[in-house]
Amino acid sequence: MLDVRDLRMRYGRTDVLAGVTFAARRGEVLALLGPNGAGKTTTIEILEGFRLRSAGQVSVLGTDPAHAGEAWRARIGVVLQSWRDHAKWQVRELLAHLGSYYAPYSAPGLPRPWDVDELIAAVGLTEHARKKVRRLSGGQRRRLDVAIGIVGRPELLFLDEPTAGFDPEARRDFHDLVHRLSDLDEATILLTTHDLDEAEKLADRILVLAGGRIVADGSADELSRRMSTQAEVRWSRDGQRFVHPADDPTRFVRELFRQYGESVEDLEVRRASLEDTYMALVRQAESGPGAGADTAARRLSVVAG
């Protein structure tokens, strides 16, 4: 679906991307997570074919996006942040029109475009189908943006900062929509975000991009396990409180019970949260090469404890 190797991007004398490597399988939801300025948007725009890379190999649906044609374009979807374009168009009118470009690209078992009324229902805009785009609320507009992105039934969908500027409710609605999308068509989805919570909720796999490199790649669970082997153990004995870091908390607690038995109370074992891990990774990447990510994560979990 998606194969990126040693992708590099340089503006003038600054390396925005310094060797990014990752891949995605069919049906996977991938979140590219990173602080502002980490190169997320640059990466996604290179994959969309909207920007030329400086070096590296990129294959999107088996084709190099820098030389891809319109047939390739018909198989990918890009969710753009609308502003005031197509203000006079009605929702249904616009979707039907933009969908018509995809009709010649239908494949066996994959009719294109999406039926317009079905699509409008899927994004929850049925009541607003006849409304002009400029009369939509911010949240409704974003649903329309998503609908435009998927009107051609893409095999691969790109979403760049999809929930920037959303209120919590709109954000939850949007998350539901993305879940439904990945279930419906087995579409592969790549989204960028700087919101850890969002990445955790939406993605099968999280890629952390910092300092122009992928510094972590795995499920939310894997990331927090892999990065924070150290945990913090708290307990009290005879009314006195204790805090102790442990590399192997299980063994540490077993030992604790063996020594003190019944007198151990208020036992608590805390691993560093995903957020701690993420912050440590980012801080380490931004402070330049040096100590490994593992050490940085550990250092932070100690500080946080």
């Binding site: 948007t41 640059t42 996604i44 725009e45 969309e48 909207f50 920007r51 319109e70 047939a71 374009r73 018909a74 890009v78 753009l80 942040q81 609308s82 502003w83 005031r84 374009d85 197509h86 006079k88 168009w89 009118e93 029109h97 933009l98 018509s100 470009y101 995809y102 009709a103 010649p104 690209y105 435009i148 992105g149 051609g152 760049d160």
Partner: protein, 283 residues
């Protein structure tokens, strides 16, 4: 189904839809009506004056010239301004994100602007028939001339409009373009015979398509005797055809290159950057 043909059809439909929007959106409609009314008002004011050296109404002569210049103004300025605005607001990026979207977008724009011109010229001409006397539109030749001048005028100005639209960085600079175009109208002999202008201004006017569009429309709609007040005492059809064709060829050669360049540079972050800039301007 042929993919290219699908894009052409989508483009034609797009042009038709946007044309309909233009004539059903009250604010757009009011702007069009007011502009037309101002032009007609000026001509009515000039109705009693005569073209120097003749007994012919300057109002009627001006009507013919204004019809010609409106073709050029729409082709150049409207095309450029629409392209600049839609470059800024992300319409073009949307077109780029769908297969053959740019082809459809451009065809749509050409259809919308051409449709606006045809409707505008018809509307003004029909109103003019009631307000002014002396229009020589009884012959088939008059309509034939009107048709080719209008068609060639669009082919000459739309690509140049697209070139300007691709070069102008933002909606703000598009205002400057409008000023330049107004200056051009002033030296194109629309409201007063060009022969009464200083020599150098006549040359500037003749270098651009607006003068020739005005001349062509006058030749179609005014009595043959009125040619006597033009440069060379002639309607100069051959020169009109030649200059407009030259602009058309130049535009059609340059426009695809610049439009492709503009499209290539388009991305989500470039639209976002322009949006931020525009927001700062408002704030």
């Amino acid at each position: 189904m042929n993919t290219h043909w699908a894009a052409v059809r989508a483009g034609l439909r797009r042009g038709w839809i946007e044309l309909r929007h233009q004539f059903t959106t009250p604010s757009d409609l009011i702007t069009t009506l007011i502009t037309t009314a101002v032009f007609l008002g000026v001509m009515v004011y000039l109705r009693a004056t005569t073209v120097p050296g003749t007994h012919f109404s300057l109002g009627t002569a001006t009507l013919a010239g204004v019809l010609g210049v409106s073709v050029g103004l729409n082709g150049l300025a409207t095309m450029a301004v629409l392209l600049t605005a839609e470059h800024e607001d992300g319409t073009l990026l949307r077109a780029k994100a769908i297969p053959n979207g740019m082809t459809g977008y451009l065809i749509g724009k050409v259809v919308t602007v051409s449709g606006t011109v045809v409707i505008g010229v018809s509307g003004m001409l029909i109103t003019g028939l009631f307000l002014f006397s002396g229009l020589a539109i009884g012959s088939a030749g008059a309509w034939l001339t009107l048709t080719w001048v209008l068609a060639l005028g669009l082919v000459a100005t739309l690509p140049i409009g697209a070139v300007l639209g691709a070069l102008i960085p933002g909606a703000r600079s598009a205002g400057l373009l409008n000023l330049a175009v107004i200056g051009l109208v002033a030296v194109s002999g629309i409201f007063y015979p060009i022969t009464h202008l200083p020599h150098w201004m006549q040359w500037v006017g003749q270098a651009f398509p607006l003068y020739w569009l005005g001349l062509g429309m006058r030749s179609a709609l005014l009595p043959a005797a009125l040619a006597s007040v033009e440069i060379g005492h002639s309607w100069r059809h051959l020169a009109t055809f030649g200059v407009l064709s030259a602009w058309a060829v130049a535009g059609l050669l340059v426009a695809p290159v610049l439009l492709r360049r503009m499209a290539r540079r388009e991305s989500g972050s470039s639209v976002a950057a322009r949006r931020e800039k525009a927001m700062r301007r408002v704030a």
